[in-house]
């Protein structure tokens, strides 16, 4: 086993070598090896920033209203004169932060993977391969419905921390991603681990016809392959 060196040093070359070691072994000449070509992230729905700003604002605003009503109606409680303006400030601030953090989000999808980035100060980039997705969940909140947006959640094995959630996607994009993942699953029934169900108890969903066809095809091929789908836990 490798011994810890007394003075760890990072040189780009050494890491390059290690990485190349890892790659060469699998006779790759995939374009993705070039790590430094930036991922061409796409923006989410154009309505998402204002929606996110509103929902961040409303959280504080509800507290503000409750405090205001209590202050007004209950004689015994007299809030410090700074409390209400302070809350108003926080509501507005979180609205602004919500707006810009939504703007900072982006996603990119290629043939096999979905990428997602987020964060204003703590920036995060995530990569998730289609073959690691256990099931996906598309939901539409009331506001999202109004602007034809969707939240898509990808569940992977290994607990809640390894899931990925993308809010503010245009409906058509979310449907497209789902269709792509289903198509991928159909083509690669090697892992046989994909089920898709939709969490839309609240309202009717816009089902794109193509995805339904693919879904039924997937089911067909799954039953041929002797129960290749993973059921959900309490089936």
């Amino acid at each position: 086993m490798t011994e810890s060196t007394d003075q760890p040093n990072i040189t780009d070359e050494s890491n390059q070598d290690l990485l190349q070691d890892g790659v060469n072994d699998h006779e790759s000449n995939n374009s993705n090896t070039n790590a430094l070509s930036p991922i061409p992230f796409q923006a989410l729905s154009k309505h998402y920033p204002k929606l996110n700003a509103f929902s961040s604002f409303i959280g504080w605003a509800i507290i503000l209203v409750i405090m205001f009503v209590v202050d007004l109606l209950v004689d015994k409680i007299n809030l410090h004169f700074l409390v209400l303006p302070g809350l108003l400030f926080f509501s507005l601030l979180s609205g602004v932060v919500g707006y810009f953090s939504a703007k900072a989000c982006g996603y990119y999808q290629d043939e096999f993977d979905i990428y997602f980035k987020q964060g204003l100060w703590w920036k995060k980039q995530v990569a998730l391969n289609f073959s690691r997705i256990q099931h996906i969940d598309i939901s539409h909140g009331p506001l999202e419905r109004r602007y034809q947006m969707a939240t898509i959640k990808f569940f992977t094995a290994g607990g809640a921390t390894s899931d990925l959630r993308i809010s503010g996607l245009p409906n058509s994009q979310a449907e497209q991603i789902r269709a792509d993942i289903l198509r991928y699953a159909k083509e690669n029934i090697i892992n046989d681990e994909l089920t898709v169900f939709e969490d839309d108890s609240s309202q009717p969903t816009v089902h794109s016809e193509s995805s339904e066809i693919i879904e039924s095809k997937l089911e067909d091929s799954a039953s041929e392959g002797e129960n290749t789908t993973r059921g959900n836990k309490n089936d």
């Binding site: 699998h26 790590a35 703590w122 391969n129 992977t156 993973r230």
Partner: protein, 517 residues
């Protein structure tokens, strides 16, 4: 449906053995002690405030026993199972009915346990684990051991058929006895007890008991008692110091005895075998199965397909380092919770030397490189830890103290604390190492002990690169790798490196057409 399935009658709904009532009683009592002791407080208040304490206590005791026996009987009565095609069907629940259908190809592990009270009756507890469930998906407690073994073989075979389309050739274990690859002597178990973190689980376990009894302890052990003991040790300051030291020593002894006892109970007669051959030829690694048998009072038999191993984790604490042993955990798909129950089902290989460990690794992981060269992380980790985790918090506390005592000298404390901890921070910084080679990666960390994780890159579930505002100024980043078994991260590495890792992992996943699970 095979002849044997008919022979055991499992194609019809079956009850467990009536002995399972004992299991249900045990389960209920453990649940009560672990989770609901505080909710019994009202009962204690009722007893305490009643006039006729004896009468009310016996009434409550009788009610409890009747409830326990009745409840356990009903649980036994409503628990039924059968096998239908390639599915295990389990119905249970007295008021809330559960109907579970477990498809064989979803089953991750089948473990066979034989608690002491089942031994005279040749009964066992068959535990079915699936990847998604928090605990066991189903416990068939109280079925004949022959049926359990038949079920295990049947399920494992059925899985192979479904996944790999391998025809059953009637090749049995008798033709190719499994090869023993690891066992643990009593000495190994003692080493494991000392070098695993079982010593800390001691506190987790005693915490509920302690919170219950601290009032009693307060009443029993008065200041006079302590003074008396201190006098016994010679009195005065020296006596008190000796007393404190002996108390620490006693706690340590208890901790270690507890941990060693736990290790012996769980891993007594530990044997790890592998069935690597079929028709006289070595099977591909992915098709080989590990079997582990151990246990003093309860015998455990567990099996694990090599293909399902997500990571090879070798770790040790400072005692293990001194004893030159490490304990190996084979990472499997988990629901991510670090609960005692999840820990109990971990696939552990206790007390290996570092040579044994690397030998085991090459036996269990396909084409794993003998060694993976690693590099360290950026030295800004040291600055950040010193500044944000040591200096700043102590500065804040000292400022608050200063406002009260008005002594400038107090501001030397943050500097002193940072200096005192500097060697530890440096040691931790040096221990952070990472590297990849030939499709495998290795992450190391540690302080007094160590934890080394080796995993095939293509088994990664998700990769994240995170950059905090502090890291952005130096173009550093944190790389987080989510495996189905655990999450590992490396902080303060160059952003470029982190992105390269992400790209390589993404590519490995795309190009490796092997099943990750």
């Amino acid at each position: 449906m095979t002849e044997q399935t008919k022979q055991f009658g499992v194609q019809e709904w079956q009850r467990l053995s009536p002995m399972s009532i004992v299991f249900f009683i045990g389960k209920f009592v453990t649940h009560l002690i672990k989770d609901s002791l505080p909710s019994l407080a009202p009962v204690a208040i009722v007893i305490f405030n009643s006039e006729n304490k004896v009468w009310i206590t016996s009434l409550i005791a009788i009610a409890a026993v009747v409830l326990l026996l009745g409840g356990s009987f009903l649980q036994y009565w409503y628990f039924k199972f059968k096998i239908e095609g390639e599915k295990l069907l389990v119905n249970d629940g007295v008021f809330k009915k559960n109907h579970r259908i477990i498809q064989f190809d979803r089953i991750q592990n089948i473990n066979i346990l034989q608690p002491l009270y089942f031994k005279p009756f040749q009964l066992v507890n068959l535990q079915v684990e699936t990847a998604g469930a928090k605990g066991n998906e189903a416990d068939l407690a109280g079925i004949p051991s022959k049926l359990a073994e038949y079920l295990r073989e049947h399920v494992m075979q059925a899985k192979q058929h479904a996944k790999l389309n391998v025809a059953n050739t009637g090749d049995t274990e008798a033709d190719h006895p499994p090869e023993l690859i690891a066992e643990a002597s009593m000495r190994d178990l003692v080493n494991y007890g000392m070098s695993s973190n079982g010593i800390f689980w001691f506190f987790v376990l005693i915490a509920p008991i302690f919170s219950m009894t601290d009032e009693i302890i307060e009443k029993w052990i008065t200041k006079e008692d302590i003074n008396y003991l201190a006098d016994l040790f010679g009195g005065g300051i020296a006596g008190n110091i000796v007393l404190a030291l002996s108390a620490i020593l006693l706690t340590l002894t208890l901790m270690f005895s507890f941990s060693i006892l736990g290790a012996i109970l769980r891993y007594y007669k530990y044997q790890l075998t592998i069935n690597s051959k079929e028709h006289g030829q070595v099977k591909p690694l992915a098709k080989q199965t590990l079997k582990r048998s151990s246990g003093l009072l309860t015998s455990y038999q567990e099996s694990l397909k090599l293909q399902k191993i997500q990571a090879f984790i070798s770790q040790s604490n400072f005692i293990g380092r001194w004893l030159k042993v490490e304990n190996i955990t084979l990472g499997q798909v988990s629901s991510g919770q670090n609960t005692p129950k999840n820990r109990a089902s971990l696939f552990v290989v206790p007390a290996r030397t570092s040579e044994q460990s690397s030998q085991l690794k090459s036996q269990l992981m396909e084409a794993v490189p003998e060694s993976i060269e690693t590099v360290g992380i950026d030295k800004r980790y040291v600055y950040k830890t010193l500044a944000l985790k040591l200096f700043l918090p102590s500065l804040i506390i000292c400022t608050i103290i200063y406002l009260n005592v008005n002594q400038l000298v107090i501001f030397a404390v943050p500097v002193l604390i940072s200096l005192i901890f500097l060697p530890l921070v440096l040691r931790r910084w040096r221990a952070y190492q990472f590297g990849m080679k030939k499709g495998y990666a290795r992450f190391e960390r540690g302080l007094f002990g160590f934890r080394h994780v080796t995993f095939p890159l293509f088994k990664v579930q998700k990769v994240e690169v995170i950059q905090s505002p502090l890291q952005r100024r130096r173009d550093l980043a944190t790389l987080k790798v989510y495996l189905a078994s655990n999450k590992i991260q490396m902080q303060y590495i160059p952003m470029k490196t982190a992105q390269q890792w992400m790209a390589v992992i993404v590519e490995q996943i795309q190009q490796t057409k092997k099943a990750w699970y």
